[in-house]
């Protein structure tokens, strides 16, 4: 305003767009100052817009708030940022302030959003609606409330749900679970397909790390996530014999060769195919699938399920050339491929390196399983089989042997039970079927006669790992045992299948391909590698994740984009499952998981048929319904599909801005008292004990129930009690002060209540009725005149009856005296207001002074309302003391006058 003024982006920063902040911003804007308003919520309006009517005029709160909200959003001198937070306010030498602020990601581009709310209708996650004080639910994608300004949808994301965070393949279980829960089964399948094409495979054979991380595990047990997936995959495949899509319309003309059609190769091919690359997968075997086809027995993964999954990939135009072993990258280049992805997986064949290993009847597990899977199983009928090894392959080998009619199957491994790499549930299943497992034995030698095996000599293994947890077994040679065996199957580890490329790409010492861990680029330009060939033996989902990562960077490489600083992983930080479980423990009732049923062991060893039974629709939905929605948004992407404006951006990140201002107005409001801090009053335990803000919502025109009803059973209450001074004038909760507004809002609610339910009895339990403002005493008299009963006395505790009525214990101060009990069918706790201490942390430590009650200290309350310990910083309304709306408005105006004078003087006085 004056020439001497320091230069700044804005004259005033207003923190908070409640009624006080809006009033100040508009007044200062009207005076011609440039104002920046920063509001943390997605709408301006603060707490007032949530009220029903206001005392003593009984004006509709939204009717008198909305003009100001619209004005603040449209004023030419006022810029309003919602969903934004001020992080730091640092005084400058010239008297102004440097402001750092964060524009929080809303995951919906406000510039594109039209407020049509189709995302809200499509969203599959319901959470308590904070704008209705948790009385009702809202969607994760939502518009804050009907009168929101600006009227833009936002998505609530607390972080990555632990299940989705845990999946190495980037599959988002929370997403498809929420879709199954909503009965959107095909959508659930498609959501999974988007993340990984091998839906059927994973629904049968995944080791499901998601279930390990499920927050519900902290309560009664994890969700059976794989079972839910199997339901959705089976259901989809039963109605979709072939994929619903074909190759993408736009092909970019570039060619990519993938070596290996295991999970890694298929995942990479799928993604690159979607992006319009001409992809050829070379597979040495006669059929695609790699370990899925040749390693996993059919009782765990039926071959037709795999074939259907592979069709998801080939439908995109990805060619799979089987029977084509690739042994030279140079040859691929010569054929015109622009990039290569090596996903050759493992081969078997680790040797025991003991005498007798060469005997007939000793088989490598990988070869053994391969033979079974190609339909030429060895004849094990009536034979004694010994399996050496403690991993998944050993278990698969042992269980397959039983199915091939072995007389006995014994498993020996070095590890103790707890150390075994196989999963406990598969060990349990193997034992159910008759596999005899013996731990902590190594093989001394294989015993044979006439080149045929007849037994195994075992040596006691005393430890498997050294202190650094490296594999370094030690044995006690004095303890030995011999077991008879007709067949010995060795499953003691896999080796990377990389030898063919040793001359063209650099390898690690253990034979895996050396890659950049972020981009999976090998030492040869344009050649990427992933899966077990890089990681060593791992899970299917890990290989899929590698394939997707490779595709991501192959795409960037082929588009000539730098990969520097680019991250493939776009997950939000993981939500803490313990925290989620603790919160759910308060609200969710226990619901034990529906177990996955398996056919009886004796029946299942009769064939290679699937032994695990699929969930029924009810079981799947019931299971999905147990989901706690840890990250809130499930990333099901229904909103992405629903949004006509293409405004959804789940990858949106927080943006940081720095601005300079000449003065600051803190309009940070108050914190509502949490009635749970008075446990004797039953809030949170008894359905029909609600707090004052909730009652206001029930009475508001945009009310959650569209009628005045009590929460437990939806009945209209006939005998309502208001308990005043909850959280106020109460040393027990650390707030001795009076909250000023509760007497009045309770009487307002009582009046509105009697308007809706003229026959209801209303009792107000009070200490003093503080009707002190203009028109307030008259309002009190009017309330009395409406036959509201005023009972002087403090309420000590509340009990619930079987019918969810409430017994209110109080001290009858003026009647007969003493302890009395009254029965009500709805109790409203008139909760008070506490300081919002958020403002103090914005300033350099300790510079913004607080008063004894932790409000912002007004240094000269009598003459300079709102002036704080920092020159140029003013605090408005409830930031400095509890205030009702008129006093907040007056205070905001008063501070504005001083801000105007301060700015007019040129900022700080030297």
């Amino acid at each position: 305003m004056t020439d001497a003024a320091p230069k700044a982006d804005y004259d005033v920063l207003v923190v908070g767009a409640g009624i006080g902040g809006m009033e100040s911003a508009l007044t200062l804007g009207e005076m011609g100052f440039k104002v920046l308003v920063v509001e943390k919520e997605p709408s301006v309006g603060g707490r007032m817009i949530l009220l029903s009517k206001v005392f003593p005029t009984l004006d509709c709160a939204s009717c008198i708030s909305t003009p100001k909200m619209a004005a603040v959003n449209n004023h030419p001198n006022v810029r309003t940022l919602v969903s934004s937070e001020v992080d730091r306010i640092v005084p400058r030498k010239d008297g102004g302030f440097d402001i750092e602020l964060t524009r929080k990601p809303t995951f919906i581009d406000p510039a594109k959003c039209t407020g049509c709310a189709l995302c809200e209708a499509a969203c599959t996650v319901a959470v308590p609606d904070e704008f209705n004080y948790d009385l009702s639910a809202r969607r994760a994608a939502h518009i804050a409330f009907p009168q929101a300004v600006p009227k833009k949808a936002v998505i609530t994301r607390r972080g990555s749900s632990p299940c989705s965070f845990s999946c190495p393949a980037g599959v988002k279980p929370h997403g498809y679970i929420s879709l199954v829960r909503a009965g959107k089964y095909d959508e659930a399948f498609r959501q999974h397909l988007e993340d990984a094409p091998l839906v059927g495979v994973l629904s049968r054979a995944c080791y499901a790390p998601c279930e390990e991380s499920c927050s519900r595990k902290e309560l009664e047990g994890a969700l059976p996530i794989r079972g839910i997936k199997r339901f959705m995959a089976d259901r989809y495949y039963s109605t979709h014999a072939v994929p619903e899509y074909g190759p993408p319309r736009e092909q970019n003309g570039k060619r990519v060769a993938i070596v290996g059609s295991g999970p890694g190769g298929l995942a990479a091919g799928f993604r690159l195919g979607q992006l319009g690359y001409a992809v050829t997968i070379f597979e040495a075997e006669p059929e695609p699938g790699g370990i899925l086809r040749w390693g996993i027995p059919a009782y765990r993964l039926p071959k037709e399920v795999l074939a259907r999954d592979v069709a998801n990939v080939t439908a995109l135009g990805v060619r799979i050339e089987t029977g084509r072993k690739v042994s030279s990258i140079a040859a691929l280049r010569d054929q015109g491929f622009d990039a290569v992805f090596l996903a050759t997986g493992d081969r078997g064949g680790r040797k025991l390196q003991v005498p007798g290993e060469e005997l007939s009847g000793v088989q490598d597990a990988v070869e053994y399983l391969h033979r079974i899977n190609e339909g030429h199983p060895p004849d094990l009928a009536g034979k004694a089989v010994v399996v050496i090894g403690g991993g998944n392959v050993a278990i698969d080998s042992a269980r397959s042997a039983l199915r091939l009619g072995a007389r006995s199957v014994k498993m020996f491994c070095l590890e103790s039970r707890l150390e075994m790499p196989a999963h406990p549930w598969e060990i349990r299943e193997a034992e159910e079927e008759g596999v005899v497992l013996t731990n902590s034995w190594g093989v001394g030698q294989v015993l044979g006669y006439d080149q045929r095996v007849f037994g195994v000599e075992l040596v006691r293994c005393t430890s498997v790992f050294d202190e650094a947890h490296r594999f370094r077994p030690t044995f006690d040679l004095s303890v030995q045992e011999t077991v008879p065996a007709d067949v010995v199957i060795t499953a003691i580890g896999l080796a990377p299948n990389t030898a063919a490329f040793a001359g063209e790409v650099a390898l690690e010492r253990n034979g895996t391909i050396k890659v950049d861990p972020e981009t999976l680029a090998t030492s040869a330009p344009g050649v990427f590698a992933g899966g077990d060939a890089v990681t060593g033996p791992s899970m299917i989902v890990t290989a899929i994740g590698q394939g997707k990562r490779a595709a991501f960077f192959i795409d960037r490489f082929l588009r000539g984009e730098s990969t520097e600083g680019t991250r493939f992983d776009s997950r939000l930080p993981k939500v803490d499952p313990v925290q989620v479980a603790a919160e759910a423990h308060e609200s969710a009732s226990p619901r034990p998981p529906v177990p996955l049923r398996r056919r009886p062991a004796e029946e299942r060893i009769g064939s290679f048929q699937t032994y695990e039974e699929a969930f029924t629709e009810d079981q799947a939905r019931d299971s999905a319904n147990r989901c706690l929605d840890c990250g809130v948004c499930s990333e099901c992407r229904e909103c992405v599909r629903a949004c006509p404006a293409d405004a959804i951006d789940l990858g949106m990140a927080a943006r940081h801005e720095a601005v300079t201002v000449r003065s600051v107005a803190l309009a940070t409001g108050f914190s509502p008292f949490d009635a749970k801090a008075k446990p004797a009053l039953g809030f949170g335990r008894f359905a029909n004990v609600i707090n004052g803000p909730q009652m206001d919502r029930i009475l508001a025109p945009t009310r959650p129930y569209n009628a005045v009803v009590r929460p437990s059973d939806g009945k209209a209450p006939s005998n309502v009690a208001f308990v005043l001074c909850v959280g106020s004038r109460d040393e027990q909760v650390g707030n001795r002060l009076c909250s000023r507004v509760c007497c009045m809002y309770s009487m307002k609610q009582a009046q509105l209540l009697m308007g809706s339910l003229p026959l209801a009895d209303v009792t107000i339990y009070y200490i003093d009725i503080r009707a002190f403002g203009k028109g307030y005493e008259e309002f009190y008299q009017q309330t009395k005149g409406m036959s509201v009963y005023f009972q002087k006395g403090r309420v000590s505790r509340i009990e619930e009856t079987d019918g969810h009525d409430l017994l209110v214990h109080f001290e009858d101060v003026e009647g007969g005296g003493g302890h009395k009990v009254a029965r009500h069918d709805l109790v409203v706790l008139s909760t008070g207001l506490l300081p919002n201490q958020g403002a103090f942390g914005l300033f350099p430590s300790g510079t913004l002074e607080r008063d004894a009650a932790s409000y912002v200290h007004e240094v000269d309350e009598e003459l300079e309302p709102g002036a704080t310990s920092l020159e140029g910083v003013f605090a408005i309304g409830a930031a400095t003391a509890v205030r009702d709306i008129p006093d907040t408005i007056v205070h905001a105006e008063a501070a504005s006058a001083q801000i105007a004078a301060y700015l007019r003087r040129g900022g700080a006085t030297a």
Binding site: I64, P67, A71, R740, R883, E893, Q898
Partner: protein
């Protein structure tokens, strides 16, 4: 059928309207009417999103008039005019139709009837809009000068802040010196600042300002003109008349302490004093505490004297707000002077709201005893052999009668409005039932009045303590600043206009106009009336007075009003 393109929005107001009016039926019916090319229902027409919808509709359908059927025009006319303006439509081709206060709320038990009425009202709005013409706002310059009436703490503080903001001030005080009540008070709650010192600090600051002129023993006699340029006449101490032109007027005339009737709670007996009298006694700081030479060993405070009275007794039905906190504070001051003085508080409700609760707590901890009396059965104060006797039925002891024999009875008297009828007349300010000046809206516009540019601050608007009076004063300053700092304001052009062909200058309009906005001018060979668009309020008193129908108010022309009546009289579909 006028060939106009009018858009109608029917608001549900959450449920305020749609619970009682079938808004969809209103929309369907009105949509079929001539001239209506768009009709929408909105949950909240005033919400930003609904406004965006309407703006899109105005632009896409090229509307030349808009009708919003919602609440009282008092609430949202400005909102929707601004909306029309943003859409590129002349704001005066917008009409607000009230189907809430005048329909849904009035007919909550007759949904069918209320719906029919809404349709009629909407049609009348459309009829008026169909005959609307684009009008331009009247831009008037504003003078950066303010008259502040009242030189108490609120007036002084307001003057100082206006001066800081670069606005010159004429500070008018009826008394012979500045400072008001606070100048006579000692320690103030809650921060124990000394009233005298506080006010004297302000007075010297005001005296030091070049752009503040102080008029002592002066009164405001007359006001004319309008917002931005009021002409104000003062009578000074020397009975001279001073004329000033100012942009705005701030009224900070304060309160009068309640003066008890003789005999009211023993008032008139020796040893029975009012709260201000006791405050002045304490302000002397003399120890030990004595009244008229007699030591004071015990005090009984009787609360709510002159406040919270029943309406059949007086107009003082209000709570005076400050007295509970002030008295609690005084009890702590007395305790500080002499902790052995016994203090009894005879109260109805202790209203130490907000942080003043700490004062009550401190008084309790200091040994103050509280006895609760009921309005129906107030305490009695008598004298027996020179000893004061107070009898009270304590509700906290199940109505048992307690007798006290205090040395001093302090009647905790409230605030009453000042006798200000001349000023009220001169400024044409409305006064509430309680006798204090009345604001436009007690909740949202507590310092503004129906007279644009005139603000009521401090205890003149209602009882307040010092900090609250000052905050209110500064709020008035803020409002004045928002009007004056820009240098101009825009006024509505909905003012009377004269048809020179019909006018014969019969002076009937001049007589009817309460604002002095009409004067004669020469027009060719005759005299005709001319209306000052700056002074005219557009209230229309002149219209029916004119025998020739030569005068009409823009936006409410005779044709428009007739068309509205016709539309209301039409059978609803």
């Amino acid at each position: 059928m006028t060939g106009r393109r009018i858009g109608v929005v029917v608001c549900q107001c959450g449920g305020n309207i749609s619970d009682y009016v079938d808004t969809e039926k209103v929309r369907e019916t009105i949509e079929k009417d001539a001239d209506v090319v768009s009709a929408q229902v909105q949950m909240f027409a005033c919400s930003d999103a609904a406004q965006q919808d309407a703006i899109r509709e105005i632009r896409e359908k090229k509307l030349d008039g808009v009708v919003v059927c919602s609440c009282s025009p008092k609430l949202h006319t400005a909102t929707f005019r601004a909306m029309a303006e943003r859409a590129g439509l002349n704001p005066y081709q917008y009409t607000q139709v009230n189907i809430r206060e005048q329909d849904s709320w009035a007919h909550t038990h007759d949904r069918g009837g209320a719906t029919q009425k809404a349709i009629h009202l909407a049609r009348a709005g459309v009829a008026r809009t169909a005959l609307s013409e684009p009008l331009e706002k009247i831009r008037v310059e504003t003078l950066p000068a303010v008259v502040v009436v009242g030189g108490g703490v609120a007036g002084l503080r307001a003057a100082l802040e206006l001066s800081e903001m670069g606005i010159s001030v004429h500070l008018v005080e009826r008394a012979e010196e500045l400072g008001g009540h606070v100048a006579r008070w000692g320690n103030l709650f809650p921060n124990d600042k000394v009233g005298r010192e506080l006010v004297h600090g302000l007075i010297s600051a005001v005296r030091a300002r070049e752009n503040i002129a102080v008029y002592l023993g002066a009164e405001l006699l007359e006001k004319s003109g309008r917002l931005g340029a009021f002409q104000v006449k003062l009578r000074t101490r020397s009975k001279e008349t001073v004329e000033l032109t100012v942009g705005s007027i701030v009224v900070a005339t304060g309160f009068e302490p309640y003066a008890p009737q003789a005999g009211e709670f023993g008032y008139g007996l020796p040893g029975v004093v009012t709260l201000p009298e006791f405050k002045e006694l304490l302000a002397t700081g003399a120890r030990p505490l004595a009244y008229q030479g007699r030591p004071v060993r015990s005090i009984a405070y009787v609360y709510c004297v002159g406040s919270r009275e029943s309406p059949d007794r007086s107009g003082r039905t209000y709570c005076s707000r400050y007295c509970c906190s002030a008295t609690s504070h005084i009890a702590t001051v007395v305790n500080g002077l002499d902790p052995s003085v016994r203090q009894y508080h005879l109260f109805r409700d202790i209203r130490t709201y907000g942080r003043y609760e700490a004062l009550y707590e401190k008084a309790l901890r200091g040994g103050s005893v509280y006895l609760r009396y009921s309005e129906e059965d107030p305490p009695s104060v008598t004298s027996s052999d020179g000893q004061l006797v107070v009898k009270v039925k304590d509700r906290l002891l199940a109505g048992e009668e307690v007798e006290l024999r205090p040395d001093l009875v302090v009647l905790v008297t409230g605030m009453t409005p000042r006798e200000n009828s001349e000023l009220t007349q001169a400024l044409k300010l409305p006064v509430g039932k309680d006798g204090f000046f009345r604001e436009v809206h007690v909740k949202l516009r507590p310092v503004e009045t129906v007279m644009d540019g005139i603000f009521i601050v401090g205890a003149a608007q209602g009882p307040k303590n010092v900090a609250e009076s000052v905050a209110s004063a500064l709020a008035g300053v803020s409002k004045a600043g928002a009007l004056l700092m820009k240098g101009y304001v825009n006024l509505d052009p909905l003012v009377a206009a004269v048809d020179p062909n019909l006018c014969l200058w019969c002076e009937e309009c001049l007589k009817a106009c309460p604002y002095g906005a009409v004067r004669p001018v020469e027009a060719g060979d005759k005299q005709i009336a001319e209306v000052s668009s700056l002074l005219c309020k557009g209230e229309g008193a002149c219209v029916p007075a004119c025998p020739k129908q030569a005068i009409s108010v823009r936006g409410y022309t005779n044709e428009q009003v007739t068309a509205m009546i016709d539309a209301l009289a039409q059978e609803a579909a």
